[in-house]
């Protein structure tokens, strides 16, 4: 049994790459690695000719439409007659190999897996995937790189130090194959929004294909029923931080239920909603003069930490929960022992269903941050993609084949190919219910665990078959959360110092903040922690980003992409 999962981060990008611990704390101090793209020195996405966005025509009409802001489309039922995206298999023979993390138990092996075989038939090539237990993925990736035995498609989940060096040494520059109108050869990839592709560059080149997600990971979950019992029907109705503290105190009955629970996976104190209430910037704030301020350095951050210390002192944190596993925290939430937790929005569906199972009266809902002094809070654009894949260096003809495969795996919701990739073979792996929703059979549950979804993916649609309430709730929450979402101005930049020291620096900050929240040191300790952070590398990171920003702006102005 492994122990690392106890300290799992919620923002998975980096989390599983490094066994999770690093980010764990970063969620508290602000995830240093959130949605960070990796351009090389002094470059940004603006340098690169990104794939031209071409929306897909003729797809199945969603019940709730996608918006330009990034709110995902939602479907109450699976489209009645899925269309075929391909008239003939895109490839003719050969093999596509890949390496991905695995977050489930292993799927049925290839030879005993009709779904896997059907996917190969539809693609027109063998698909050979090495699936690695998520916690071990970073180790496996390092050894695979060292042993020079990379497959065609490799999931890159975080910013390993020296990512630009790794990419330049081992992976293909996709700019000549996907840049601009070239992308039109791969319609499913071209349908991925530009905002996501912006996260896919490094050193002035397009290196990645994204596994897109829906912009924001949200601001945690709360129990509407428990809030209501204390007099607040909707978290949006809370007027300010003082009222919120009163509410949390109201909810807390020592020994029975508490206002907030954390887990070691989210830094211990479910800090994210508090940061959002106080309007803390997403990692960095860029002012008009092109200067960056780290979120640690802002007054908003200080106020949020001070407030969490108050919440702790008032006894509203579930005692000991800062050392819990995520499972324990979820259990406490689902069984009504804690009214507010932080976990990423994509995990809400499961929490909702479990809580309803335990008590039908339970009313979990995504937390939408109010403003600490009235007005609105913020959320972060911290879930633009889940991971990115890079393609091993090869000749252009081979790369074109691999890209065709990627395009196939990115077949959108409502197509036959999407159905096959996600639900397997009809009759064997799933049956259709009266609303033509696929229902997995026992065999299907194992057959469909093959990680095709990490080889390339379309933008994510919301689909909770048979649960209109949940679907509506998710759609409304995404609408609200994305409306509040602020970007990380450094998201498409690369800082070598951040790559090298970012985790250790973030860990030192989260250690210091934990001491302040639990009252073991005073708020003034934050200032000295920030000072240490700056001198140990924070200032260096800042100047690297600023340099990259200027480089990026300059080349945008001239309008010429760098080679």
């Amino acid at each position: 049994m492994s122990g690392k999962n106890i300290v799992k981060a919620e923002l998975g990008r980096r989390s599983f790459l490094w066994g999770g611990v690093g980010v764990a704390s970063l969620a508290l101090t602000g995830c240093g690695s959130s949605a960070k793209s990796t351009a090389g020195k002094a470059s940004s996405a603006a340098d690169v000719t990104l794939p031209t966005f071409v929306p897909l025509a003729g797809g199945a009409a969603p019940d709730l439409p996608a918006t330009a802001a990034g709110v995902p489309a939602a479907y109450y039922t699976y489209p009645a007659a899925p269309v075929a995206a391909y008239s003939a298999p895109p490839l003719s023979g050969g093999k596509i190999s890949a390496m991905t993390p695995l977050f489930t138990s292993p799927p049925s092996g290839h030879d005993a897996n009709p779904a896997w075989q059907a996917v190969e038939k539809a693609l027109g090539a063998k698909v050979d995937i090495t699936m690695i237990v998520g916690d071990d993925y970073d180790t496996k990736l390092s050894t695979t790189v060292a042993g020079d035995s990379l497959p065609d498609i490799v999931v890159i989940t975080a910013d390993p130090a020296n990512l630009p060096g790794l990419l330049a040494a081992k992976f293909a520059d996709l700019t000549p194959l996907l840049g601009g109108d070239k992308a039109k050869q791969y319609p499913h990839l071209a349908a991925i929004p530009t905002a996501v592709w912006e996260q896919c560059t490094s050193a002035g080149k397009l290196y990645f294909i994204p596994i897109p997600r829906n912009i924001s990971a949200g601001s945690g979950f709360y129990r509407q029923d428990m809030f209501a019992a204390a007099g607040v029907n909707d978290c949006r109705d809370i007027k300010n931080a003082d009222d919120f503290l009163t509410l949390l105190k109201e909810i807390t009955v020592p020994g029975k239920q508490y206002g907030v629970a954390g887990s070691s996976g989210n830094g211990g104190f479910s800090a994210m909603p508090f940061l959002h209430i106080f309007g803390v910037p997403n990692m960095w704030r860029l002012d008009g003069g092109g200067n960056l301020t780290a979120h640690y350095e802002t007054d908003e951050y200080k106020a949020a930490v001070e407030f969490m210390a108050k919440v702790y002192k008032a006894g509203c944190y579930l005692p000991g929960s800062q050392g819990w596993t995520k499972n324990q925290m979820e259990d406490a939430f689902q069984s009504g022992k804690a009214a507010l937790i932080y976990d990423g929005l994509p995990g809400f569906g499961v929490a909702y269903q479990q809580a309803k199972k335990i008590s039908p009266a339970a009313a979990p809902a995504p937390f939408v941050p109010f403003g600490h002094a009235g007005g609105k809070g913020v959320t972060w654009k911290d879930n633009i993609y889940f991971a990115r894949v890079a393609l091993k260096k090869a000749d252009p003809a081979r790369l074109a084949d691999v890209l065709k495969a990627c395009d196939f795996f990115a077949s959108p919701f409502g197509t036959k190919e999407h159905m096959l990739l996600n639900f397997g073979v009809e009759g064997t792996d799933y049956t259709l219910d009266e609303n033509h929703n696929p229902v997995l059979t026992a065999q299907g549950k194992n057959d469909t665990l093959v990680t095709f979804k990490y080889l390339s993916a379309p933008t994510q649609a919301q689909f909770y078959p048979g649960q209109k309430d949940l679907t509506d709730l998710m759609y409304k929450s995404y609408t609200d959360e994305i409306a509040l979402a602020v970007a990380d101005p450094t998201a498409s930049l690369y800082s070598p110092t951040a790559g090298k020291k970012g985790t250790a620096l973030g860990k030192a900050m989260s250690d210091a903040v934990a001491q302040i929240i639990t009252g073991q040191s005073s708020l003034s300790a934050l200032d000295s922690a920030v000072k240490t952070w700056r001198s140990n590398g924070g200032d260096q990171i800042r100047s690297e980003y600023q340099q990259a920003l200027q480089g990026g702006t300059a080349s945008t102005a001239s309008g010429t992409p760098t080679k």
Partner: protein
């Protein structure tokens, strides 16, 4: 021939004293069966432990997996000076020693005590029953063990609740920095004490029962028999394990501590392995990780050699003897 045999018997177990005048080749010929028996293991150690030794090059490089051990940038001693210049490293080192020391104090002797206790139980059935249960926690992962301890010692756990009911203040043993090393020892004892007894029980059973009978005939009481027979029978194994334990003094349970480090904070909970985890591995600092590994190995080596020598001074066999050729 008879004279030689007599000499051999006098000089103790496993020894055959032969004239030292043999040439190397004669000795090889003499020992050919023994050498053949040793060979597979020897080849294993060379191939799987010494062939990869080039990995330590990384300690002196800015190693990256994509450049390889022979093409990464040479940085000399910088990985080491980076460490020694970082106060957090010294803090981690101090915590590691503290935790190791308390482990040696509490966790090391625990299985010996339990083995002696079980050994003294006269009922074979009871002994067997207890034995076939106490080793089981060894197979439970740290995640589960830590959560069990949380439910017992955590702020809302069984023990604090009991204290509360008795009108005493709740004590949160799980997040107290001062208690942390003791907590680690306590958890280790629960997990591995029973497992650790296995080897000591084997040692106890290897004691010739005739020795007990002889002692009893001489009129020795229980305590004297314990001191004269049991203890000397157990001591060589105990000393051996103690020495080997010293070799890994700078590696305290990584997973166990990583799981609980954040609850007590780095001032008490950061150890060398977690330090490397955050400062080296996560930042792609393979070189620094290798440097720490090298330091740990050298410290372990010095301690093992020193302890072994010390054991000889006390008349113990230790791991190996100088007299071994």
């Amino acid at each position: 021939m008879p004279a030689e045999t007599a000499q051999a018997v006098r000089s103790g177990p496993g020894t055959t004293v032969r004239p030292r005048r043999l040439t190397l080749w004669q000795r090889v010929k003499r020992d050919k069966v023994m050498l053949a028996l040793v060979a597979p293991g020897f080849v294993y150690f060379v191939v799987f432990h010494y062939a990869p030794i080039f990995g330590y090059l990384a300690a002196f490089e800015d190693y990256q997996p994509y450049t390889g051990f022979f093409h990464s940038a040479w940085v000399g001693l910088r990985n080491f000076t980076d460490l020694t210049g970082d106060p957090a490293f010294w803090q981690a080192l101090g915590n590691t020693f503290k935790i190791s020391f308390i482990q040696l104090l509490l966790f090391f002797p625990a299985p010996i005590g339990l083995a002696l206790l079980l050994n003294s139980v006269l009922s074979a059935r009871l002994r067997k029953l207890v034995q076939s249960v106490v080793y089981l926690p060894h197979f439970i992962g740290w995640v589960v063990i830590v959560s069990i301890f949380q439910q017992v010692l955590g702020p809302t756990g069984v023990v604090p609740n009991l204290l509360h009911d008795l009108g005493l203040p709740r004590v949160d043993a799980m997040s107290s920095p001062g208690f942390f090393p003791w907590l680690i020892a306590l958890e280790s004892i629960w997990k591995d004490c029973g497992w650790g007894t296995i080897i000591f029980l084997a040692a106890l059973l290897n004691i010739d029962t005739a020795l007990y009978e002889a002692a009893a005939v001489d009129g020795a009481g229980r305590w004297r028999r314990f001191r004269a027979v049991t203890l000397p029978g157990l001591l060589p194994v105990a000393v051996l394990l103690l020495i080997l334990n010293l070799g890994s003094i700078l590696s305290v349970g990584f997973e166990q501590i990583l799981l609980q480090r954040d609850t007590v904070g780095p001032a008490a909970g950061e150890v060398l392995d977690t330090y490397v985890y955050y400062h080296g591995v996560q930042g792609g600092g393979w070189g620094q990780a290798a440097a720490v590994g090298l330091v740990k190995a050298v410290v372990g080596l010095v301690l093992v050699l020193g302890a072994n020598k010390f054991a000889h001074l006390l008349g113990q066999e230790g791991v190996y003897r100088r007299g071994d050729s």
